[in-house]
Amino acid sequence: MKFAYYPGCVAKESGKELDLATRWVSARVGIELVEFPNFSCCGSGFLDEANGLLNVALNARNLAIAEKAGLDLLTVCSTCQGMLTFANRRLENAAVRAKVDGALQPLGISYSGKTRVTHLLQVLTDQVGADRIRGMVRRPLTGLKVGAFYGCHLLRPADEMHSESAEEPHSFEDLISALGATPVLYRGRVMCCGFPILFVKEPTANRIAGHQIHDAKAHGADAMATPCPLCHISLDSFQNKASTAVGEKLDMPIFHLPQLVGLALGATPEDLGLPRHLVSTDAALQKLGRVAVPA
């Protein structure tokens, strides 16, 4: 399996641990990542609000880079997944297509619309397959109760994302089971993390993140895992503020999707960049007998 690897901005900066874990896991499960130094940012939904057409054109350029190399695109971020898929969808509109083609042509770029955009979660569950992953597990995550947190743009709008059921998805839970952990079902798993308004009205964003973490915790989760680094910022990097917003010490370790997979496949916490988290993952690791319980 060979993909054009689209890490997205956050995995190259503050969420570097996601990139580390993606590379570690990909190498073990047979995913070859081809890098392109000329990918631009997906726009993250914000650029779309300033100039929607330009955002489609920039992503058409990204998709054209992969198409020229004959590769499908692999994302590790629900938002990148959403924005790049939107671009493909919007290019089906003739007026949009004409404008974008008109801007790309003078640059010698053409995009026929063939590049498929796939998230790592989908590659792991659909192409590698949860059963094969189960067979690769070296250190099962037995006893760990994990709440999956999907991230909006991996699922919705369902008719554009061509994904599984947006209301009752199960791929992430299937993967968590394959790793030996116990998936926790809770309403918040398909809800928003609050990130999009973190810089607009932070207390509201924190409250939304706090609701979802509280919900996972109330259903018995020891940890949460997300396929989106923006959700990770909201749930991990700003968890102290989410705790204040909901008036509860949340103390919830938040894993990036490939970190959870890596742990089960035998990676060390350092391989996966776990020490970079703002909320310590030690409580979850202790539950797995992976770090010494402090005296």
Partner: protein, 326 residues
């Protein structure tokens, strides 16, 4: 001849609550024999008519037109008049019916929709005359098909409040007007006969527009495919184009635009400064220091992508264009 469907046992767990009588909300269990295609609403009416006359629910047309019977069916927003029992029983083994969220329960499955309608009224959902272009006296003002297309699917809205119930921004912040109100606002902002476009955009920019999370839960919940989240996106672009970065939300969008033009990729620290200004950034310093201690590369300027010239040429080619309906 049409063959009758075989009846199945349908277990219902229905939310019951009567504040006037006090006590806690509870679920009451009922079982009916129904054909799989029977709407959940028909089941609820049979419960009321045959088993328990105290069950209270709101409905009217039974044809997905009036928008009265939105409820949660196994936690999903549904018009119960057009949700068949069969697939729900097959998937979940039973049918749990709850009242909509984000609105206080009056009794059982009936909610108080006052906050929903109040927010709708705040949008001034009627044509505001344009003094520059008075409407012709005594005759209809016609629109071109292209102008009508601009409404997208917003006229299909039946005001069932399923979107309002599903919205996490409504849940978290009373300032947010909700998806339906904003989709209606969009419909007037793009109406060529309306004289209030700019005033409407200015007002909404400071009263909740930028609190939309673009989570698309409203678009998923809408039984009429109005796609409110996409129309809210349109409103944001119209506001940015007409009025620039007047609010943190629009400044963030414009900050992104500048950021990517500069290096092709996001510069996290710079974006915070662009959105929050110096004072806002200073206020956020404590959290910033916590983050940078664990993630020191945040302080480094990200590497400019190869092919940044192509990116900038796309900007030059498309930045002056008028907004294109997406």
């Amino acid at each position: 001849m049409f063959a009758a469907e075989k009846l199945i046992t349908v277990p219902f767990d229905v939310y019951r609550y009567d504040p006037a009588r006090g006590g806690e909300p509870r679920y009451q269990h009922y079982e009916l024999q129904l054909a799989p295609h029977t709407p959940v609403l028909t089941g609820l009416l049979r419960i009321r008519d045959e088993l328990d006359p105290t069950l209270t629910l709101r409905y009217s047309c039974r044809s997905a037109i009036c928008g009265s019977c939105a409820m949660l069916v196994n936690s999903k927003s549904r018009l119960v008049c057009r949700t068949p029992v069969g697939p729900e029983v097959a998937e979940h083994g039973r049918i749990v019916v709850d009242p909509m969220r984000n609105q206080p329960v009056v009794r059982d499955l009936v909610v108080d929709q006052t906050p929903f309608w109040d927010r709708y009224e705040q949008m001034e959902p009627h044509l505001i005359p344009d003094p520059q272009r008075p409407m012709p006296e005594g005759r209809t003002t016609l629109m071109t098909p292209a102008q009508v297309d601009r409404f997208k699917d917003t006229p299909r809205c039946i005001a069932c409040a399923a979107c309002y119930s599903a919205c996490p921004a409504v849940e978290a912040d009373p300032e947010f007007p909700g998806p339906m109100a904003l989709a209606k606002l969009y419909r007037f902002v793009v109406d060529p006969r309306d004289g209030g476009h700019q005033a409407r955009l200015r007002k909404i920019q400071t009263s909740g527009l930028w609190l939309c999370l673009r989570c698309h839960l409203c678009t998923e919940a809408c039984p009429k495919e109005v796609r409110p989240s996409e129309r809210i996106r349109d409103l944001k672009e119209l506001a940015v184009r007409a009025q620039g970065g007047t609010e943190p939300g629009s400044r963030h969008a414009i900050g992104f635009l500048k950021n990517i033009e500069e290096g092709g990729t996001l510069n996290e620290m710079k974006l915070v400064r662009q959105t929050s200004g110096l004072i806002g950034t200073a206020k956020a310093a404590g959290q910033g220091i916590r983050l940078v201690r664990k993630k020191p590369e945040m302080l480094k300027r990200p590497k400019t992508i190869e092919g940044i010239d192509e990116v900038r040429k796309l900007y030059r080619a498309l930045e002056k264009d008028e907004e294109v309906p997406l």
